[in-house]
Symmetry: C2
């Protein structure tokens, strides 16, 4: 069974986000003053072969903590859905960050 | 009223994704051979002042098409949720890419 895991990596609260600030200024200059705040981040979509969503989530969490995110500066969330059933979510959860 | 818009920007199907391929190789070397595919992307969270979710979505779509995504290489999706009601989704939709 193939699951799709979406790992979202973003800066921890309090860490300077110059990319977000620059985009915010640019959007205001383009006339979108209604935008109050912008935060950038990275996203990874992983196709994972696993017997159940729990296993897929465990693998995605290991990938996130060990490679995709910098634990000093970044937080991450993991969401897993069942890809083989036409995109209907079989598992959808936010995994709290695991500290070594 | 403040809405949160999440703009996900990813490479169009068929565009080479060397970042994803590199991460895939690295995950296999780390023992996660169950991962079959990896695709990277960028994500932006925008806080938008608007009267209704439709307006917030229109602003986020304009920001995505005009600044956040490169329409030659990238696709984007926009999701809008009501931030003031404690994170309960008031609007959740995928906007098809708008061509100029």
């Amino acid at each position: 069974m193939t699951f799709e895991a979406v790992v979202e990596v973003r800066l921890k609260a309090g860490v300077a986000d110059p990319e977000g600030a620059t985009i915010h200024v640019a959007l205001c200059q383009l006339g979108m003053e209604q935008v109050r705040e912008v935060h950038g981040g990275r996203m990874f979509r992983l196709s994972i072969d696993a017997d159940d969503p729990e296993t897929a989530r465990r693998i995605a969490t290991t990938a996130a903590s060990g490679l995709l995110a910098n634990p000093v500066l970044e937080d991450y969330t993991v969401e897993v859905s069942d890809r083989s059933s036409g995109g209907v979510a079989a598992e959808h959860g936010v995994v709290p960050q695991i500290r070594p």
